[in-house]
Symmetry: C2
Subunit: 110 residues, 2 copies
Amino acid sequence: MFRAAAHLDLAFQALADPSRRAMVDRLIQGPATVSELAKPLAMSLPGVMQHLAVLEASGLVVSEKRGRSRTCRIEPKVLSQAEQWITERRLLWERRLDRLGQFLDETKDN
Amino acid sequence: MFRAAAHLDLAFQALADPSRRAMVDRLIQGPATVSELAKPLAMSLPGVMQHLAVLEASGLVVSEKRGRSRTCRIEPKVLSQAEQWITERRLLWERRLDRLGQFLDETKDN
């Protein structure tokens, strides 16, 4: 439970930055090197490496050194866990609204 | 576009803390006063107020002073926007996997 919570902390933290979300967007299309990630962001390689470290710590991205370049890819499990947390709350909220609507309808009939 | 990105920054930032997620969990069940939010968290009122400020800044929660107490409620729109961002990426990822599988199948047949 604690580990799951810590995972979500890191995942949402990683997603709370537009450059990191842009990197996730790029990696959703397929693996990319650090240079390829840096290009559309107009960011220095050290800057990209810092964001990459946050993404890797969260488990959203994994990277691997191949020869002289580092290749990054998305790891969809953590993305799904973050989605699931929000979706569960949204569904609970909608069910609450449905019950409220039903209650108001029943009250109106009496 | 910029405003949407800034909204997502604040929403994911707000969700990146277990106490704030616990407050969202509580408010999904219905409105609550600040004292009611503080109780299960075993947290001081000032501590809860700080977390509440982050949740309000993100638009996930709105609060209103009624008499001597402040009542908080969930604002589902921002939660939906955060969910939508993740869901879109998950679907793109799944489509990519499908295309990859299809490509591998076609290659096998030849």
